[in-house]
């Protein structure tokens, strides 16, 4: 009897194990697959669900599969610099320009893909009174949080969102520090959850905020700053193929060309409409 239980268990393990590895270990099943590119990207493109939504179409259209490594924009560019990724989809314009200038990109450089915007979110109580006093003024919102020393969760991970946050502090000539300023070193979704638990404020990209909205008790306290300070531009960069011999040049190029194509741009424009009532990203390839 006990042997039987053991045998059944073993069979179960085997079936599950082989069921799992069959599709992943034998990609040759579909003859048109050309290979796999490593896409290093920000947490927002993945946590919002955008990549899951569009990547199957990319594979169907080009025959390239994509391994998505979702990290902050800073780490994604470090991966590009080290030649560990083939193509990047990031949102940290200043750092991207420096990346291209340093020769880490291929000749196409930085290709604009889409944009959305950042929002300042906080608890319903809004202890710093941002909603009432700052309105659409992002700098005013940061100023109010700073002056009232209300908990603010910073990404603290060198991501695009973190870079944007730092640029706002710099524009205000403020240096946030102290108990109230929490440097989380975590992804966007995790930081929103942390802001929810600590009843703090944070700067989030709209896409990740929408994806996380229902599991928090937070609200937008500042958005749509007319000065454009909250704009969030995403760009695609192919890594310089001279980094090492393993970079999938054709796959990276195929991805870059596809993401700015009419079909992909249309997919981006429709993503989120069904679930959130409005698109999460606005395509703006040139």
């Amino acid at each position: 009897m006990k042997k039987k239980v053991f045998a059944v268990f073993l069979v179960l393990v085997m079936v599950l194990a082989f069921g799992a590895c069959a599709p992943s270990e034998v990609p040759q099943e579909e003859p048109e697959v050309l290979g796999t590119v490593i896409l290093a990207t920000t947490t927002s493109t993945k946590d919002s669900g955008l990549l899951d939504y569009i990547l199957d179409d990319f594979t169907a259209a080009t025959g390239w599969e994509v391994d998505v490594i979702s990290v902050g924009s800073g780490e994604a560019m470090a991966m590009g610099e080290n030649g560990e990724a083939d193509v990047l989809l990031v949102h940290s314009p200043a750092a991207e320009k420096a990346f291209v200038e340093a020769g880490h990109a291929d000749e196409a450089g930085r290709v604009l893909v889409m944009y959305n915007d950042f929002v300042v979110i906080g608890s319903m109580e809004d202890p710093a009174g941002v909603l009432a006093n700052a309105g659409a003024d992002a700098k005013g919102a940061f100023q109010a949080i700073y002056e009232n020393e209300v908990t603010f969760i910073s990404r603290g991970d060198n991501s695009g969102t973190h870079a944007k946050e730092k640029s706002v502090w710099t524009a205000l000539s403020l240096e946030p520090a102290g108990e109230w300023y929490v440097e989380a070193a975590a992804g966007m979704g995790a930081v929103i959850q942390m802001a929810n638990e600590k009843l703090g404020y944070t700067l989030a990209d709209r896409a990740t905020w929408y994806a996380n909205r229902d599991s928090t008790d937070l609200q937008i306290v500042c958005e749509k700053d007319p000065s454009g300070v909250l704009n969030n531009q995403y760009a695609c960069i192919c890594v310089n193929p001279e980094k090492n011999a393993f970079i999938k040049v054709e796959g990276a190029k195929a991805f870059q060309e596809w993401i700015v194509s009419k079909e992909a741009q249309a997919l981006i424009a429709e993503f989120g409409v069904e679930e959130f009532g409005a698109p999460l990203f606005t395509p703006n390839a040139e």
């Binding site: 006990k2 590895c21 992943s24 490594i69 979704g189 929103i192 599991s215």
Partner: protein, 231 residues
Amino acid sequence: MNEIAQGVQEAMGLIFAGDPEIFEIVGLSLFVSTLSVAISTAMGIPLGVLLGTHQFRGKGIIVRITYTFMSLPPVIAGLFVFLILMRRGPLGHLQLNYTPTAMIIAQVCLVTPIIMGLTYNLVKEKAPTIRRLAITLGAQGSSVLWLMIYEMRVGLTTALVSGFGRAISEVGAVMIVGGNIKGKTRVMTTYITELKTMGDYSRAIAVGIILLIIAFLITTVLYNFQERESR
């Protein structure tokens, strides 16, 4: 509280509805951990037996290093394997990062010291008696080794299950070298981490429950084996 109740409910749904994505993730978890433990066993048990039955210079330091590595943080193992396997690293030409193979290598680094250390302890305690018995029975050379392993099978099973527990439950190493790629290197623990950061608590709980059920099944098998063998 609501989240937990919802999670339990969703777990039942996922298990009985046969959600293919969940099956794939659970399957990969089992595949990676089972293979890691198998490789670690093949290395750890002979090494542990050798260490336990032989006296040589520097044995003390090897034992202490083994004990230290028994509590090696998974992220360190992950980072180490990642650096070795990265494109610019010494084994970069194999292009193994972000594959299940890399995950298995990292887990072998974690599990081998556990199995080796526990085997060593067992051997240190029981070897003299078993060896005397073996020699009395007329065994020689490698058959002494096999007899020892056979006589210690109950204790060794515990070592294997400790190793398996470590492998199936760790997240640090498989996250670094696997990258949590959907449909390719996503296992239960990295999936739970991702679900948590995305605020999908109920599904995270559901996957957690499946993980616990698997642990329970494995413990049950061990328990039955030990009960039968020690009777």
